[in-house]
Subunit: 394 residues, 2 copies
């Protein structure tokens, strides 16, 4: 897929009028710029430069023993190898093309576009010192967020399949989850199901799945515990898998009936209905050109207007090869989100929608769907949860 | 093992008179400072600060939904959670301790100590702006290379076991490798053996193992090809496994007898003997206080004095959780190695010794051993290859 992504990258350079995009990496097995996987597809050992020019030229500069694999990849017009320093080759290629704007991979707000280490930034400045190029460096944030954000048909196929596999597992939880089971026990069953499917977890396995059982208000992002699923509790699961590198990230909510109950109590049903309606409202507002700030606001305001606390996080994030894939975010204007809530949304971006509601004395209801933006609106990649799932007391 | 590593880190801060070491990370699943695995042991979602003070205090500042897992880890005296910005907590902890030197994870020469992204460096400067702390930042290179370099008994046990497992597989190659087999075929057999042992590859699987067959001079670091192992060829393998996170990195060389040959030709035997003697000479020189430059020179000069070209790389690197683990290097004073060849070696560091010789018309002989520095010299972690292995023609 690297060739397809490089074509896309060069189109984006033209669109942004950036003359050169330069990915810089070394010892990739230890710490790799996340975009290496998209446009280089293999790791570097010594300080290496992968240069994509607006005119379509593509050049790599790598340490001598790495040359063979980058030649074989066929992605670059030339692969230069150095023994002492990459300086001569770097300055030669820069002088030949004389780029006015050179994008490098750093970003204040977006981790996915922040793959250049500070030491390598200093190395770059040192290599460029006394040249005119040091003053032409700009952030590649817009290049990378577009490469990651704009999904091709093939990328959407993989994301949809990842959703489907996740929902297959969720579909069996109702038969497996029983009062008396621990969060950990249920998580282990999900992990076993995932492994049967030979799929990787979408994020670090210790909290993928995360299983949270009520009745108290609980957090997120932590490992399942020995807490027991009990009648009268809500429990939710946050889980995803990777299909051919692409992630799902979906949440579902269940209620465990108490003896004698035929359905969840009214307050649980009401909270769940508010949650689902907030997702519907956000979904209805999604289309190219709106901002994530607006979409988050719709869901947040609705939940607060119904008497619940606002959720303590963003409404949704993009999804791709990483679950929190970066770029435009469906989020409030909190300082920690920087500029991300203000970026207009684009066609073919994939987002989660994941509000959360605490229902007092029962637990936290969360539902997370995945959607893709179309030319005029959005479509679900997941089959949305419409009804609260209930578990019968044993 | 995080607790043990934090104790070690705080001792090192005292030794270096650094008041505070601050590890900064976000979206760790996407791109993580390699030292997070040593002293934090779990990933962060939002911009997070893990602060280790010379006086032994340990504090974490994380995004609100991450708080639970870092509290549960028990590694930090306090875990502060923020919704908007980490600024208030960060400045409060800095003001309380008033550190004169604050080490952060960037390094020009050492990738393992260069885990801070440039964007997060800029985020840090922004958080510290108008405070006196921005002027107190220094590189944590010496902190990290010491943490990674000084192996405990437990770390040495794992490294030794990783060597042993690798040599077990190498021990069977003589029965499996046959003339007519491809590099790829032999590599696949090694991968299958490794998987039977349920061990991970020590580096990216596409070149772990690397298998290179003569007679031409060939590179390194690239994937095995369809080249056929043939009588009269030398072939070498570069391979390693991970045992409980710790790597081996070992190379071995074989010669395939031609019909009628009882042993390798004299020129092959001579080249191999020079290679082994260069390892012995380097090994004999190893002890705390010498530099990698000196050790590399001994092996390099000996090989050149015997009429062979010098190897186009460093003689050896440290090994730990990563195969090229960083810090002091057994290397010539080439620009690409920066300061690393000049750092005096220390007790309990683990190095490879891996010269290479091209034997004209036969191929490349490489042997790579692993050694640990003792108080007065060095000891092998691997059982060294002394004799050239030969494969009989079928």
């Amino acid at each position: 897929m690297e060739k397809e992504k490089i074509v896309q990258a060069i189109d984006i350079l033209r669109e942004l009028d950036i003359d050169l995009w330069m990915v810089i990496d070394r010892e990739s097995g230890l710490l790799s710029d996340p975009v290496m996987d998209y446009v280089v597809g293999d790791g570097a050992t010594w300080l290496s430069f992968f240069m994509f020019f607006k005119n379509g030229d593509k050049h790599a500069i790598v340490g001598n023993l790495d040359i063979e694999k980058f030649r074989r990849s066929g992605l670059f017009d030339t692969v230069s190898a150095y023994k002492g320093s990459p300086k001569v080759d770097l300055l030669r290629l820069l002088a030949q093309h004389n780029p006015a704007k050179i994008a490098i991979d750093y970003s204040l707000d977006c981790a996915a576009a922040d793959g250049l280490t500070h030491g390598n930034y200093l190395n770059l400045l040192d290599l460029l010192k006394n040249s005119e190029f040091a003053g032409r460096l700009v952030s590649a944030e817009d290049v990378i967020t577009r490469i990651r954000g704009r999904k091709s048909g093939e990328e959407l196929r993989r994301l949809k399949l990842a959703c489907q596999k996740t929902l297959e597992i969720y579909g069996k939880v109702g038969q497996v989850a029983k009062p008396g089971m621990t969060e950990k026990g249920l998580a282990d069953w999900i992990t076993a199901e995932r492994e049967k499917m030979a799929l990787a977890a979408a994020w670090e396995q210790s909290s993928c799945p995360a299983v949270f059982s009520g009745p108290q208000e609980i957090g997120a992002h932590s490992a399942p515990t020995g807490n027991i699923l009990s009648p009268g509790h809500i429990f939710n699961i946050d889980f995803g898998v990777k299909v051919e590198k692409y992630c799902s990230d979906l949440q579902r909510t269940w209620y465990i009936l108490r003896p004698g109950e035929k359905e969840a109590p009214a307050e649980v049903q009401k909270g769940f209905a508010v949650l689902i309606e907030s997702i519907r409202l956000a979904f209805s507002g999604l289309k190219p050109g709106v901002t994530g700030l607006d979409i988050d606001q719709v869901a947040r305001d609705y939940i607060v207007s119904r008497g619940y606390s606002e959720y303590p996080h963003a409404l949704g994030h993009q999804v791709g090869r990483y679950a929190h894939d970066g770029g435009a975010l469906l989020a409030p204007a909190w300082e920690r989100y920087g500029n991300l809530p203000f970026i207009p949304l684009e066609k073919d971006q994939v987002f989660t929608i994941e509000p959360r509601i605490y229902i007092k004395d029962f637990g936290v209801a969360t539902v997370e769907e995945m959607v893709v933006l179309t030319a005029t609106g959005a479509e679900y990649l997941s089959q949305p949860q419409q009804e609260l799932y209930v578990i019968k007391p044993s």
